[in-house]
């Protein structure tokens, strides 16, 4: 439906090489999975001592399908004051991971904080991390099938995907489709009939 709010499709977030609006929240690097460790080692040597976050995004329909996003922060590794820290350097590294063999090298040996984050990506997206000391599910129970945050996984889960909404609809002791009854319902029906110019029992007034 045409709307003044609809933006142009150019520069879509789905396009890995797209020019993004100038938000300037971090230095952004996009690398291939094979160059990932080299780039992160280089950044760590340049002073990016804090791995803030490792996250993933599923761009279903794009090649490569997933983006794994590393956010880094350069902080001095010694007691420092607010003035000494100033405005630390923020870096974002994106690695495109293909759907057929979703695997990346781990960075747990560089930053131990990546341990649970990589497990979570494995659990919710199915991307494996080569060299991870303990790669198993973290949020979902052991033995859960499927990777919930993928775009082709239904929100309510495959078991309940087809069941009616809301979930508590089945808990009512009045079956769905029961016609309304009682004094209030009857009065309402009379009012509706009057408004439609019908006789109270629903037939047309002559």
């Amino acid at each position: 439906m045409p709307s003044s709010q609809a933006p142009s499709i150019a520069g879509s977030a789905l396009d890995p090489s797209a020019v993004r609006p100038d938000i300037a929240d971090a230095e952004i690097f996009r690398v291939a999975p094979a160059e990932l460790r080299a780039k992160l080692l280089l950044l760590r040597a340049e002073g990016c001592s804090l791995l803030l976050d490792v996250g993933a995004v599923d761009y279903l329909g794009r090649e490569p399908r997933y983006d794994v996003v590393y956010h880094l922060l350069a902080l001095p590794a010694k007691p420092s004051s607010v003035a000494e820290i100033g405005v630390p350097r923020r870096v974002r590294v994106l690695a495109g991971v293909p759907a057929e063999a979703p695997m990346l090298p781990t960075v747990c040996d560089l930053w131990p904080s990546a341990n649970w984050a990589e497990r979570e990506i494995y659990d919710l997206f199915g991307i494996s991390f080569e060299g991870h000391p303990d790669l198993r599910r973290i949020q979902m129970p052991e033995g859960w099938e499927g990777h919930p945050l993928r775009k082709d996984y239904p929100l309510r889960g495959p078991a309940r995907e087809a069941t009616p909404r809301p979930a508590f609809a089945s808990k009512s002791n009045v079956p769905a489709g029961t016609p309304p009854a009682g004094k209030v319902a009857a009065a309402l029906q009379k009012q509706i009939a009057r408004a439609r110019g019908q006789a109270p029992n629903g037939t047309e007034k002559t």
């Binding site: 709307s3 933006p7 938000i23 001592s49 630390p88 129970p141 052991e142």
Partner: protein, 410 residues
């Protein structure tokens, strides 16, 4: 027997314990009075000394991120609020700032709205530290602390209920501003709280700070060096207690924080006592900011951006203006579209750097909401802090890291 994946799996299927010689593998949690929520720590203990600890999380995994992908930009804030449930307005603020950055309207948010945002966020910080201190005290057996801190918290929640409509999760901070100005009587109550607070802090400090039992239990417990803190991804009070004065409000100011004068408490010792002192000082610094914001609220002004495509028109206008009605209808029924792009916006939550990495594909729903959960990164450090310490020390360490499981598991 050690904490292998098999042992952990057995513990999660609720079969108990391995016993070998003096060493026992026990499951502490997920229902436990001292784990601060649904955390399971599978510990290998010999006597009272923990040899190894493996943490199991996921007992509160709610799929909030995926739920947010199925809600409008305006609605997603309601579920995102429920991540770090001790800091709901902080979560909302971070998400809202990120969406505003993607929309490109960050510099059009009215000043009064920004002041109110800072006010409620700092009040929430104090309220969150009140819960930390109260429950931390209970862990140590100092039960009266709980009543003192929750009294302060009740005053703050009264204020949040007055302005936002609910004690917790008021969805008060909206994209474009805040949902309604502070009502009549709010500023008077805020003044009363500002006046009462210093005495309360004095009482808390007198009760706790030099208490020999508290000092014995917290000093030299859970020492984290600055290099280790960075390696394990600690942020917030836990990082500042190890000497690194990184506070997002100072390094990357947002929402007008550069206007306010406040200090960032930092300690060098890196133990639980240092983290305790840093948070106590932070409560006072937060109240200092609240006092400065209070002065700004005497002059009136708009509290929502003047853009009918983003902010709903005021209710009075809807009855009189056709355009206002249509804009209201469009925003409520299908929200607005956010230009494609991705952004990472961070704020300082009571637990550390809370950030959202939002991806938009031009639609009226978020394409991806990735949270940078400070509690999850803070909690990972526990595995390395614990070995060689008593179980009782482990309880103190968990309390000093202040995890909130709504955020760890999402």
């Amino acid at each position: 027997m050690s904490v292998t994946p098999e042992a952990v799996a057995r513990a999660t299927t609720l079969d108990v314990v391995e016993v070998k010689g003096n060493a026992m593998t026990l499951s502490m949690g997920p229902q436990h009075p001292s784990t601060h929520g649904v955390l399971q720590v599978v510990v290998e203990v010999s006597g009272e000394i923990v040899e190894k600890a493996e943490m199991e999380i996921g007992y509160l995994h709610t799929g909030i991120e995926k739920t947010a992908e199925n809600l409008f930009w305006t609605q997603a804030g309601t579920v995102i609020e429920r991540m770090d449930y001790l800091n709901p307005l902080g979560n909302e603020l971070t998400y809202t700032l990120a969406v505003e950055k993607l929309l490109g309207v960050s510099d059009r948010i009215p000043e009064r709205a920004q002041s109110i945002r800072v006010l409620v966020t700092e009040l929430t910080r104090i309220a969150s530290h009140c819960v930390w201190l109260g429950t931390g005290g209970i862990d140590l057996g100092a039960i009266s602390t709980f009543f003192y801190t929750f009294d302060i918290r009740e005053d703050i929640l009264d204020l949040l209920e007055q302005s936002g409509g609910a004690r917790m999760h008021p969805h008060y901070i909206r994209i474009g501003g805040v949902n309604g100005d502070v009502p009549a009587g709010f500023l008077g109550r805020l003044d009363a709280l500002i006046a009462k607070f210093p005495q309360r802090m004095r009482e808390l400090r007198a009760l706790l700070q030099n208490n020999p039992i508290l000092r014995d239990r917290m000093i030299d417990v859970g020492i984290v060096s600055p290099a280790d803190a960075l390696a394990w991804g600690l942020t917030g009070p836990s990082l500042r207690a190890s000497g690194i004065a990184y506070d997002v409000r100072k390094a990357f100011p947002y929402s007008g924080y550069e206007k306010y004068a406040f200090d960032v408490p930092v300690r060098d010792d890196g133990d639980a006592y240092a983290r305790f002192l840093v948070r106590l000082d932070e409560m006072e610094e937060a109240m200092r900011i609240v006092g400065q914001v209070r002065k700004e609220l005497d002059t009136s002004g708009p509290i929502m951006i003047d853009d009918p495509k983003i902010a709903q028109p005021p209710k009075e206008a809807i009855a009189l203006s056709m355009e206002a009605l249509i804009h209201h209808f469009k925003i409520v029924s299908e929200s607005f579209r956010v230009p494609p792009g991705d952004v990472y916006v961070a704020t300082e939550s009571p637990r550390g750097e809370l950030a959202y990495y939002l991806v938009s594909n031009g639609n009226n729903r978020p394409y991806r909401v990735r949270t940078r959960p400070p509690s999850m990164y803070n909690l990972q450090a526990l595995k390395h802090m614990v070995p060689g310490n008593l179980i009782a020390d482990m309880v103190v360490m968990i309390g000093s890291l202040d995890p909130v499981f709504g955020e760890v598991d999402r």
